[in-house]
Amino acid sequence: MANSAILKSSLAKKYWMALTGLFLCLFLIGHLIGNLQLLSTEKYEAAMRFNQYALFMTSNPAVKALSYVTYLSILFHAIDGIWLTVQNRKARPIGYVKNNRSANTTWASRNMALLGSLVLIFIVSHMATFWGRMHYDANMPLYKVELSAMGQKQSFYRTTTQQFIPVDQVAPSLEEAHKTGKGKYIKNRTELYDANAQIKIAELYKDLYKITVDFFKQPTYGLLYVILYVISMAVLAFHLSHGFASSFQSMGWSHPKYSPFIDKFGLVFSIVTCLLFAIIPVYVYFVL
């Protein structure tokens, strides 16, 4: 009894929605901290920090483990949500002729499925644009810095050990290195090898910063992407404005003394988080 109850009952579905939802809120905070690196005052530093963050997110084993939980959460949250919505529709086969829903509920609370679906669409396109390229794009650019040396501009790769390697000393592959006689070459997209010894001498950063900035600064569609991004964040804010406090209620974490605080915090959290997310592409487009 107890076992099937925790898996199948109406309340269990609520628990899962709440737990996955709350976990995704935590993920949002992590993601936001990273994104905020883009706002560093100096462009050079912003790129550096952002790419460092991107590397951390894709290489740290703990973070990696968490990322799988995140994927699962998104999946579960979405499937569970659709399942709930279908069931809830079935619970009222004949609707009202006249219904005054705004008298007793907020718009967001009534439209969580719609808001959630929009958020899901956003997540998919967002992942295709950034996460997919970061992970799978063979042409993912590497992070370079332009420095002026002796009155001449020169490009350098930046290694994770904070060395500067002139770009023109590095060949894209071993064959190329042999052909051109360059001393270093790149293997496995980010590893810097010594052409003679054929040993790894350093690790380079993928330039997610450039991808991001280029994406929003595209001459034809850049502005559209910025607008869509901001709208998506508004949708997310509405979703969170109900979802955050709601998950506490679903888990039964309710107390006359503390619940009002959670409600307020949830509202502030959803607005501030989404606002900060939304500022970034606007900044990129208009300021950078």
Binding site: M1, A2, N3, A5, I6, S9, S10, L11, A12, K13, K14, Y15, L84, Q87, N88, K90, A91, R92, P93, I94, G95, Y96, V97, K98, N99, N100, R101, A103, N104, T105, T106, S109, R110, M112, H242, A245, S246, Q249, S250, M251, G252, W253, S254, P256, S259
Partner: protein
């Protein structure tokens, strides 16, 4: 607060029986006293229909003082009409304007099938109660003295507030998901807050929720419509308490 008389238009759901297909019918009713209750207005309409040799509208009602929970009308898109903390029978015509068109529909829920016109079958609530809404004590009277177990006043008061539920079903009717969690949450809470009810609290919440699910009620998405429309102001806190109770019960 002088008595006024208003003329109104009504759009009422008419349905011959459980199997028939229903539809909204329009009626005109003149000279309705603003001191009349909403149900007295319907009495007046029925009297008019009977005099026209038409069949009167069937609707559930009994005590007409807001406690039996029988009356159950969805008025102008809201359970028990526009005011808060009242049942349909406590709604008065002074809440409506002269010339207004008023929509009257039955509760809509898979678990509350329409029997006739505005009358629905709420026996699903009874079955939930039968699944566990009680303390398993026999009725011999051979229990301990009523004052042998002191109960913290705050707990007793909160238990009473939950127990004030009249089982009208407005929570289900106004929930966009047709969920019965406020009703079940209130019942679970009433007992969970009292030492007498704690003993079988786990079985109770598991059994009542199982029955609730079987009846075809929807799932709670915490929109809070139930709390707003509940004539007795039953708090959402009771749903949270049920969630808590259920979680502990299903893990132990």
């Amino acid at each position: 607060m002088a008595t006024k008389f208003i003329n109104i238009n009504l759009k009422v759901w008419r349905q011959k029986d459980a199997k028939a297909k229903g539809q909204m019918e329009t009626y005109k009713l003149d000279k309705v006293s603003t001191d009349s209750s909403f149900l007295e207005m319907l009495d007046q309409l029925n009297e008019q229909l009977i005099n026209e040799r038409k069949e009167p509208i069937a609707f559930d009602h009994d005590c007409r003082e807001g406690i039996c929970g029988a009356c159950s009308l969805y008025i102008n898109g809201r359970a028990h009409g526009p005011d808060r903390f009242i049942t349909t029978c406590q709604l008065h015509m002074r809440s409506f304007k002269d010339g207004e068109t008023i929509f009257i529909e039955p509760w809509r829920s898979k678990a509350f099938p329409v029997i006739k016109d505005l009358v629905v079958d709420r026996s699903s609530f009874d079955r939930i109660q039968q699944a566990g809404g009680f303390v398993s004590v026999n009725t011999s009277g051979n229990t301990i003295d009523a004052n042998a177990t002191p109960i913290n006043k705050a707990d007793a008061d909160r238990s009473f507030e939950a127990a004030a539920c009249i089982g009208c079903g407005a929570c289900v009717a106004s929930c966009k998901n047709g969920s019965a969690m406020l009703f079940v949450g209130a019942k679970v809470s009433q007992y969970a807050l009292l030492p007498q009810g704690k003993i079988e609290a786990h079985d109770r919440v598991l059994n009542m929720v199982r029955q609730m699910d079987e009846e075809g009620f929807g799932n709670c998405t915490n929109t809070g419509a139930c709390e707003i429309e509940c004539p007795k102001g039953i708090s959402l806190e009771n749903i949270a308490r049920m969630n808590r109770e259920y979680l502990t019960a299903s893990m132990s």
